[in-house]
């Protein structure tokens, strides 16, 4: 009696709600924690970056125009879907070298992080906005708005790190182009499968796998990207990316050696918000 041959998964990119291969046709080998072959991942190119930014821009108007309540519902739905795939993520994390309980804890934390940000969608404006008492017959209020398309160079903590940098971008209405962890990209693509089935509109999150050194500069220099999170960039790579980001004066979030296990606070939410202040006369 022969054993059944397993059906292997092909890991592809996630752009505009679809799962294409890299336009370059390239892929790279992903090994597990002990160096054994795990899978081939797509090796995205600069043109994939371009396509992903295009998709993110296209999605921005609709996503930022959703009500905050609706975005909260969708982020919570992501948490539900992630919870449902718990076992799969635990396995994938164990393959990266984590022990069973560490992997399990990381999945739990990732689910909880989506829940945390789901709750923030309809509260951050109240916390970060204000009615301003100007000296004159005017009503003046400031509201936070999503900055637009955010490039995210994800840290190597393959699930919790990724969720920690991605969720705040989309919670406030931004759209994201993420360069996943280079050594451990598989949980990112599996997360994309979760996103694709969570009522998140296509293009809101776009995930690229491949060489960080190759992709990050294209993201940093892209003139239609409004902000960039350098969380996963090693210290010696920051200066060049920041310089590239200055081309269109992107908002830059520098890597800060974050500990992803703590309570996230609001810093990553506000980093990618713009404050809009509206004046109107008060009269009869």
């Amino acid at each position: 009696m022969s054993e059944r041959l397993t059906v292997r998964k092909t890991y592809k990119l996630f752009i505009g709600g679809a799962f294409p291969r890299s336009e370059s046709g390239r892929s790279y080998v992903v090994n597990d924690g002990r160096g054994a072959f795990l899978a081939n991942a797509s090796q995205a190119s600069r043109k994939d970056v371009r396509d992903a930014v295009g998709a993110a821009r296209k999605a921005f108007g609709g996503w930022s125009g959703r009500t905050a309540h609706n975005r909260g519902q969708i982020l919570y739905r992501i948490a539900e879907m992630l919870e449902g795939r718990r076992a799969q993520f635990v396995d994938e994390l164990r393959a990266t070298g984590l022990g069973k309980s560490a992997a399990s804890d990381e999945v739990d934390a990732a689910v909880d992080r989506w829940v945390w940000y789901a709750g923030w969608t309809d509260k951050i404006a109240a916390v970060a906005g204000s009615a301003n008492p100007v000296s004159g017959p005017f009503f003046n209020f400031s509201t936070p708005e999503p900055v637009g398309v955010v490039g995210v160079v994800a840290p190597d903590a393959p699930l919790l790190g990724l969720v920690s940098v991605l969720a705040p971008v989309v919670a406030t209405g931004g759209t994201a182009v993420v360069v996943a962890s280079e050594p451990a990209p598989l949980p990112a693509i599996t997360l994309a499968e979760v996103l694709a089935t969570s009522d998140l509109p296509g293009g809101v999150v776009n995930l690229l796998t491949g060489r960080r050194d190759e992709l990050a500069p294209w993201l940093a220099s892209h003139m239609d990207v409004d902000a960039i999170d350098l969380a996963g960039v090693p210290a010696d790579g920051v200066a060049a990316l920041e310089e590239a980001a200055a081309g269109n004066l992107k908002r830059v979030l520098r890597p800060a050696g974050d500990d992803w296990s703590g309570e996230p606070g609001t810093a990553r939410l506000t980093a990618f918000l713009e404050t809009k202040t509206v004046w109107h006369p008060v009269g009869v």
Binding site: P137, F138, P281, V282, G283, V284
Partner: protein, 309 residues
């Protein structure tokens, strides 16, 4: 809109509510900025004399007597007995029963007699009484009639009634010029002031006037600004020029000059003429005279050097 056939209420409403809105804060701001104009030396001298010629010297008291009115007429004809270069005022403004006295006192001076009418200041009387009031004043020799609109009708949205009253009063005026008083302090909003301005001009007003002087606030710079914009736009649209008269609360030379600046920079220099702009006031004249003497003599004067009439 033609005044040949009287427009219906809905037509008037559609027209008046189709006028561009007025933003209160913006008008207040513009008026306040124009009020910062610094009018000095030669410009001030020119402004003072112009203001004097625009004064409708007014007494509208229950206690008015022929003696009081004659004194006022003398003052209007020769405001500063010690200085013949001081121009005369534009008109003397009185109640209808004082018109005859004023006409007699002013004969040969070229000064007009303006009479308030139409149950001034409230306007709360039957139409026939208002018209009789007007006809009496005209018959007594008034060259200008200052009527009040029915603010109640206006605020109730009965624009047709207001319109008809103005048309009828204009007819009763004959050759006398008709000034239409809105009592802007009761209309409250600048939107209402603009609508009242267009309503009155459409109905045939020769002048539009802010206030009776009996209700606070009376004339203000922003209200006058809105009315000046209205006469400017009305002339652009129809070719007919209508005058503007702020009245009440204008007491100092400084106030008067602010109004002249407003006229100059809103309706334009064409309105800087007593034929098109008047200042309804009682105590203003003496301050103008005092400031005028300061300019000619270089020293500050005092109230006892000018007549109290």
């Amino acid at each position: 809109m033609s005044t040949e056939t009287l427009p219906s209420g809905p037509q008037l409403r559609a027209f008046l509510h189709g006028l561009p809105g007025v933003d209160q804060v913006g008008v207040d701001e513009r008026a306040a900025r124009l009020a910062t104009r610094s009018i000095k030396t030669t410009a001030k001298a020119q402004a003072i004399d112009l203001a004097i010629t625009m004064v409708d010297l007014t007494t509208l008291e229950g206690a008015d007597t022929p003696g009081k009115v004659r004194a006022l007429c003398a003052k209007g004809a020769r405001p500063d007995p010690g200085d013949a270069s001081v121009p005369r005022v534009a008109a003397i403004c009185v109640y209808p029963d004082m018109v005859e006295t004023a006409v007699a006192a002013l004969r040969g001076t070229g000064i007009g007699v303006a009479s308030v009418a139409t149950a001034f200041p409230s306007g709360r009387a039957p139409m026939e009484a208002k018209l009789a009031d007007t006809r009496a004043a005209v018959a007594a020799g008034a060259s200008e009639i200052d009527m009040v609109i029915d603010r109640g009708a206006f605020l109730a949205g009965d624009y047709r009634k207001v319109h008809e009253e103005i048309v009828a009063t204009k007819e009763a005026c004959g050759d006398a010029h008709l000034k239409v008083i809105f009592e802007t302090g009761e209309l409250v909003t600048y939107d209402n002031v603009r609508r009242a301005s267009w309503l009155a001009m459409e109905a045939g007003a020769d002048f539009i006037k802010t206030s009776t002087g009996k209700v606070a606030p009376a004339a203000t710079l922003p209200v006058t600004l809105v009315m000046l914009e209205a006469v400017r736009d009305y002339r652009a649209a129809t070719g007919r020029q209508v005058g503007v008269k702020p009245a009440g609360g204008i007491r100092t030379t400084k106030d008067a000059i602010k109004y002249l600046v407003l006229v100059n920079e809103t309706a334009g220099p064409d309105w800087l003429d007593p034929q098109w702009f008047r200042l309804g006031a009682s105590s203003l004249l003496n301050d103008l005279l005092m400031q005028r003497r300061k300019l000619t003599t270089g020293v500050y004067s005092g109230p006892d050097y000018f007549t109290l009439d």
